[in-house]
Amino acid sequence: MTCTFCEWRCELDNGRHGVCRMYYEDGGVVKERFPNKWCTYNAMRIESLPFYHAHPGSRSLTIGTAGCNIDCQYCANAYIAKEDPKKLQASMYEFTPTELVRMADKMGCHNIVFNVNEPTVSIPTLLAVSKIAKKAGIPMGCLTNAYTTEATTELLASIFSFMNISLKGLSPDFCRHYLGIHDSKPILRNIKRLAAITHVEVTTPIIESVNDHEIDEMAAFLAAIDQEIPWHVFRLLPEYKMKEDVYPSIESVNLILEKHRRVLPYIYFHNFIGSEWVNTLCPKCRAIVIERFSLGCGGDKMGSYHCQDNTCPSCGYKIKIHGQRVDWNSKEAVL
């Protein structure tokens, strides 16, 4: 029996659980080993996940499960994503979809974002959550590596109305060595498809002397899809198997990015404290329309929102924003 959730297309016969270790075969059906089990639930600013152009100012209930389908050498959540999912189960939380959506309400969250590991490893559970969340009027978003089959890509789009896709690198050599996958073609295909049907932001961690030479090519790829796609270029924070690696040079990476900002106006460069490249500028008149603080890995925050009805207050240009700006405490629950 072949699992068709991701591009590995693992065979699940004879008790095998696939690359992600999260599925099994039962009577000709692919089933989850650990449905409704969650490694965390936390209230976080949507900008810190990061989403800069979706539901600005909102509070997100961030969630995750266990396992992943690719093997990034620099994984920041390796102690969840790389650990044997079975070993983690004793410390996981158990919430039904209804309970999880209720938790979002109790914590005053405007949306739910799957951000710890890869959502593709928990598709049936997330489908169930999305049905309840939709009824409750709570949008869902995710971070994904998009190493999914075409069918699963459509499923992801049916679950999540905003997504941040990791475009980690392009060359087969890079993909094999740093991600443990054959090539980036399925990911590029899926970015293109998802950008056409849902809100997409893209994140690229830059590893000095490894994938920085691909920035031009990645920029051209994104510009061909949508010049207003928000692109988060991350300075790699070396973790996991790359903990001893150098921190990339901020000046040289930004020098490369600067020339692309003329074509891709929503390029951000962050994942380090105090970054100057986290504000949104109007593509037309270059006025600052959204100000943010960069508090490094997982800590960004909105400072001021100057848009009026999602348009530039100076020239009236429509800024690409999914949803509306909301007040941080506007859904604070009265329990």
């Binding site: 100012g57 925050k301 009265v334």
Partner: protein, 379 residues
């Protein structure tokens, strides 16, 4: 105005600490601080060289700024014990290593050193999961003994009442009465505070699970160099007195309590009644201000509500003001602080200059120096 200088390795930026906005200030003091930041990149919270970083950075700063008061925090052993399975021998090795650093600092500077252990650590016996209440339980991975309860139902109360691992549940009114809160103090308190029995940890909705947590440290060790003090809140006044005639270093050693403290010490109380401080900013503030800290940023509160766009001090963690009456802010002479205990040294010490690691959940993102006062010239 307070300035923050962030250093993320090979790149530095000067910011207004209150607004978070970039600044172009370039003074001899700022240049000196930048050079020290460049010279001492932070090795990481659980790196074996982390405590050495505290000593080396502070010695360099002393050489360049000539302070009379130094506030240090050594924390690598606390992070390591908290999140890593260590043998008793490994823990002892870490304890020996951190006190070797304390000794090195003391010998090289000749300061009168007052050393405080923030409390013993013990293995986690079990977790208490309050995630399935009708109401909401709030706790964090850094405060595992206490959980704030918000909007709990009668069913929740019954459920909580049957959990043997919970030592007590205290209502907001009881808490206010016990700790003599003023009317405005109740604002941030949870409806109830649940207190776990020693060794039990409220399960925090975060990714890293602790393997050791602070014991219920009713008492903590204070080196005899401070003289006789009964309570954590008596120490700062004593230091004020010593500073009239001595150069003084206050050194916090995290995760070490009366069981393992190797220097001659006296026990001083670490809280009030059943309430004891866990290692963290409240404990530091109680020590630094000489006043108990039960109501500012109380445990179990929905502190995320305060973190809206209007909140000031974006680089100061959950602090949205800089506390007053701290040791550093009271002292007229020059003062510095250095610590590898995360981003609160500049809030709790109030020293002219503070150096701290900018690490979140053990992710090493660099360092931040804060200048609260620029009117005391470099050496």
């Amino acid at each position: 105005m307070s300035l923050a200088i962030v250093d993320v390795r090979e790149w530095q930026n000067v910011l207004d600490l209150r607004t978070g906005k970039k600044r172009d200030d370039d003074t001899p003091l700022i240049r000196m601080i930048k050079s020290v930041l460049t010279k001492h990149p932070y090795p990481g919270d659980i790196d074996a060289k982390s405590n050495r970083w505290v000593t080396d950075t502070s010695l360099d700063l002393i050489d360049k700024y000539d302070p009379s008061f130094v506030f240090l925090s050594y924390t690598q052993q606390y992070f390591s014990m908290r999140f890593t399975q260590l043998t008793k021998a490994e823990r002892q090795q870490m304890c020996d290593a951190v006190f070797a650093e304390v000794d090195r600092f003391s010998k090289e500077t000749g300061f009168l050193t007052i050393v405080i252990g923030t409390g013993d650590m013990i293995p986690v016996v079990g977790e208490i999961d309050l995630s399935r209440l009708d109401g909401l339980a709030i706790n964090s991975q850094w405060s595992t003994r206490y959980a704030g309860l918000h909007g709990i139902s009668d069913k929740d109360k019954k459920y909580i009442g049957n959990i043997a691992e919970i030592e007590r549940v205290v209502s907001k009114a009881e808490f206010m009465s016990l700790f003599k809160g003023a009317p405005g103090d109740a604002k941030l308190l949870p409806d109830f505070l649940a207190v776990a029995r020693e060794g039990f940890s409220f399960k925090a909705p975060s990714l890293r699970r602790p393997v050791m947590i602070p014991a219920c440290n009713a008492f903590i060790p204070v080196s005899t160099t401070v003289g006789d003090v009964k309570s954590i809140i008596d120490i700062s006044q004593r230091i004020d007195g010593y500073l009239k005639n001595h150069k003084v270093a206050l050194i916090m050693v995290e995760g070490i309590g009366v069981k393992d403290f190797p220097l001659p010490y006296k026990r001083c109380s670490n809280g009030m009644g059943w309430y004891s401080y866990e290692a963290g900013s409240s404990q530091y503030l109680a020590l630094s201000t000489g006043k108990h800290q039960f109501f500012n940023y109380p445990i179990g509160s929905k502190d995320y509500m305060e973190d809206d766009e209007k909140a000031e001090y974006p680089f100061s963690g959950y602090f949205n003001t800089i506390p007053d009456n701290t040791l550093g802010s009271r002292f007229d002479g020059k003062s510095i602080a250095v610590g590898n205990r995360s981003m609160f040294m500049h809030t709790v010490t109030g020293t002219d200059i503070s150096y701290e690691c900018f690490a979140r959940n053990l992710y090493n993102q660099g360092c931040m120096a804060v200048i609260h006062r620029q009117n005391k010239l470099c050496k």
